[in-house]
């Protein structure tokens, strides 16, 4: 029962904030809704017993990446509002219709290929050592991908600096 309430409440918040992210005119407000969206997603992770990931979500996404967005918005937003220029060949309506169709299809697949309900007893078993288990999987089973990901981040860091610097 509690799980259902939490799920539906968080779902409404997540989707609501997501809609606000893409529909708000003011980019800074948009970024704020994105933060709220991420925080709600983090809460959802907690209900799924993935508290380590929830914290990482807040730390990396809300505390790091979105701050970066905010910075860029503040740097870029100083002059004139974007979206003044419109491409006449764009067909927004078709986009919405197609998106709606895809959503319907996905929902249909999800509903028909019904999986067994979430085992509730398992939550406790994950909870005890979530950090340890994730850490173990990350550093033992997925060591190579982990290192590759760290290289990716390094490359991205250097790339971002090269791109954003005025003169080298």
């Amino acid at each position: 029962m509690a799980e259902a309430i939490a799920f539906y409440a968080l779902s409404v918040l997540i989707l609501g904030f997501a809609i606000l992210v893409v529909s708000t005119r003011n980019t800074v407000h948009s970024v704020l809704f994105l933060v709220l969206n991420f925080l709600c997603v983090a809460a959802l992770y907690v209900t799924l017993g993935a508290e380590f990931l929830a914290v990482i979500q807040v730390l990396v996404y809300a505390g790091g990446i979105v701050v970066l967005y905010l910075f860029v918005v503040m740097l870029v937003n100083l002059k004139r509002p974007p979206e003044t220029h419109q491409d006449p060949r764009r067909q927004t309506l078709t986009g919405f219709v197609l998106a709606g169709l895809v959503l319907g299809e996905l929902v249909a697949i999800a509903v028909y290929s019904a999986l067994p309900p979430t085992p509730t007893g398992g939550v406790a078993s994950v909870q005890g050592g979530n950090v340890e288990r994730v850490g173990y999987a990350l550093y033992v089973d997925y060591l190579i991908p982990f290192e590759v990901a760290s290289m990716l981040l390094l490359v991205a860091m250097i790339g971002a600096i090269v791109l954003a610097k005025k003169e080298l």
């Binding site: 799920f7 779902s11 989707l15 992210v21 893409v22 980019t27 948009s30 970024v31 994105l34 991420f38 997603v41 992770y45 799924l48 993935a50 990931l53 990482i56 990396v60 996404y61 990446i65 970066l68 967005y69 860029v72 918005v73 740097l75 870029v76 974007p82 979206e83 003044t84 220029h85 491409d87 927004t92 998106a99 709606g100 959503l103 996905l106 929902v107 999800a110 019904a114 999986l115 067994p116 309900p117 979430t118 398992g122 994950v126 288990r133 994730v134 990350l138 089973d141 982990f146 990901a149 990716l152 981040l153 991205a156 860091m157 790339g159 971002a160 600096i161 090269v162 791109l163 954003a164």
Partner: protein, 100 residues
Amino acid sequence: MITPAHYIVLSAALFIIGVIGVMVRRNIIIIFMSIELILNAVNINLIAFSHQWQNVIGQVFAIFVIAVAAAEAAVGLGIILAFYRNKETVNIDEMNLLKW
């Protein structure tokens, strides 16, 4: 009772909202944020299945997704800044230098 299907539907809806954001908005920063929404939709799926099978692999994948998202944000925003400095716009319709 909350089944994984519920999570999949939530994730699909979030995914579609992100896709609509990418297709409808012309502000490249909003488009980037929509992509973040899409990645989050994927993560919700991964975590839900991880919960379903009592297996942390889904969470590990979600961590990789977050790492990729961080890299994407850093480089993407760097490109936006570099572009903005040259053309003073963040409208994606005006970013057509490579178009022939």
